[in-house]
Amino acid sequence: MDILSWTYLIVGITFALYIGIAIWSKAGSTKEFYVAGGGISPLANGMATAADWMSAASFISMAGLISFSGYDGSVYLMGWTGGYVLLALLLAPYLRKFGKFTVPAFIGDRYYSNTARTVAVVAALFVSFTYVAGQMRGVGVVFGRYLEPLLSSIEIFGLDNTGKGVVIGMVVVFFYAVIGGMKGITYTQVAQFCVLIFAFMVPAIFLSMMLVDSPIPQIGFGGKVADGSYLLDRLDGVLTELGFSAYTEGSRSTIDIFCITAALMLGTAGLPHVIVRFFTVPKVRDARKSAGYALAFIAILYTTAPAVAAFGMYNMLESIQNKEVSELPQWVSNWRETGLIAIQDKNSDGKVQYASDATQNELTIDKDIMVLANPEIAQLPNWVIGLVAAGGLAAALSTAAGLLLVISTSISHDLIKMQINPAISEKGELLAARAAAVGAVILAGYFGIHPPDYVAAVVALAFGLASASFFPALLMGIFSKKMNKEGAVSGMIAGLGLTLFYILKFKFGLFGGGGPEAYWFGVSPEGFGLFGTLINFVVAFCVSRLTPLPPEHISDLVEHIRVPKGAGQAMDH
């Protein structure tokens, strides 16, 4: 069978599976819709969290990003895993003990204030919408790349192929997020994790065997290549010769690396769609264990990606650099057709020169190639290519669904049920949750089809805002009995405001804009979340010392969430 038939078959089977699971696990109550009934095993929740967490960017783009930045890429590896330690040790068990459905619910109750609740809802909506727009776009891009002939043959509202891909993605997400709620999403995410991790590992293992003769990429990463030198030494040597910085050293300043890593870690621990996953397990001890499983599952991909990155760079240097244009391997010409690899023989010597000097460089490569072209480079059978397509879609859809749930819950529970209409019936609230999910899917789809110019800057924004708003408010809510509503609210607003200002200034050119030379302390916008977080802590501390202590029952509440006994099920009241 050819590549296209395999892709149709595998993507078709996985989609049927997701929709089947959604119908089987239809949510019948708000509790099932919000937290999957609170009865998910820690292992299943670990897998679901891993799928929720690993987006299209982790699956398709991260290895390529590391490939072209070498050591500097470590910020993503440490930043997007280290946050789980903070979650497991500082937040998840206590928030699970608290036992409500959402993150704004904790902030609203702990800080005995609907103002705090509203600030948290706004922050949750902001973070989730910025994040989900990128995911829907990712679904469209993956579809456009793999199912191009199918998409070209159908007509949907006169959209381009990426736009049609987004619409198909919306329909699938609609099915299992709107019907199944958290229950449907959880079981679908378990299936999606299996698909995506299998799809990522198969090519990586074969590539590792081919290049460094080791079936374990994590070990092959430090292995020897064909000419007997170590892979990483070889990369360092060739890249410095071409005028780039050494692969294992990178070029960013230490302070920038430090701040970006910290901001990504704090942001991870503050992202509502990740935190809410730990509300679905039965007990406090399960929340801890589940975070451990989640990180272990995430680490399978995150420790393989840097190996894939190095293999990819080695392959590219070996098979393209300084080779005759007419004698390039087949996979290069295949991908040249898609425009992801572009070669321009500037000095007309018939060879390809890769160089750091833009006037001499003749090779432009899209970073996604490092994952997408792997099956062909390793000469794997056609079904593996179909599998990689299904893996990319699983990664994008699972993350999108998790985010959509946070959006719909924030509206139906934290706004409607808790503030606008507390008398709403269970049935009415469930209906509101589904309606909000429908609205969110449509809005996210709109942003996927008409992406704002800032999709690339979204990561900085979502993580920066999550770290500067939620992380300190949650942490102080658990570890400080003296933290009051005045402190928490002003801290969140200060942290959120400053981070937003910095990112808008340096990423979007507002407030006078400015380039890297104008960065405060040399910290790029991606790393500014660390400062936003610190400002939040400082402002909250100072304000809380000048204003009245929280009432007695709050002190009892904090006492109550600090011990695991009597957690019971996640409840409404």
Binding site: G82, Y84, F221, L231, T248, A262, L295
Partner: protein, 82 residues
């Protein structure tokens, strides 16, 4: 029932120790002292680079499971387990 303050104090001590390790392997070995560690080699890896792209992640997983196990024991001791 034993004193809950004791339980909380022990929890905080455990957290301090584990988070120090968390900080040292990632921000310490992987970032601040990466150049010093890079002078040491293990097979094909420079040690600092290995911590930044592999080692720190393995340590993170170990830290969570150590915390799980210690807390379960602590909760039994103070009769606070579910």
């Amino acid at each position: 029932m034993k004193d809950r303050t004791g339980y909380w104090k022990k929890n905080l001590r455990l957290l301090t120790i584990l988070l120090s390790v968390w900080f040292i392997v990632s921000f310490g070995f992987g970032i601040l002292f990466v150049d010093v560690l890079n002078t040491v080699r293990i097979g094909g890896f420079k040690l600092g680079f290995w911590f930044a792209q592999q080692g720190s992640i393995y340590v993170f997983i170990a830290l969570i499971f150590i915390y799980v196990q210690r807390m379960n024991r602590l909760e039994k001791e103070y009769d606070l387990d579910e």
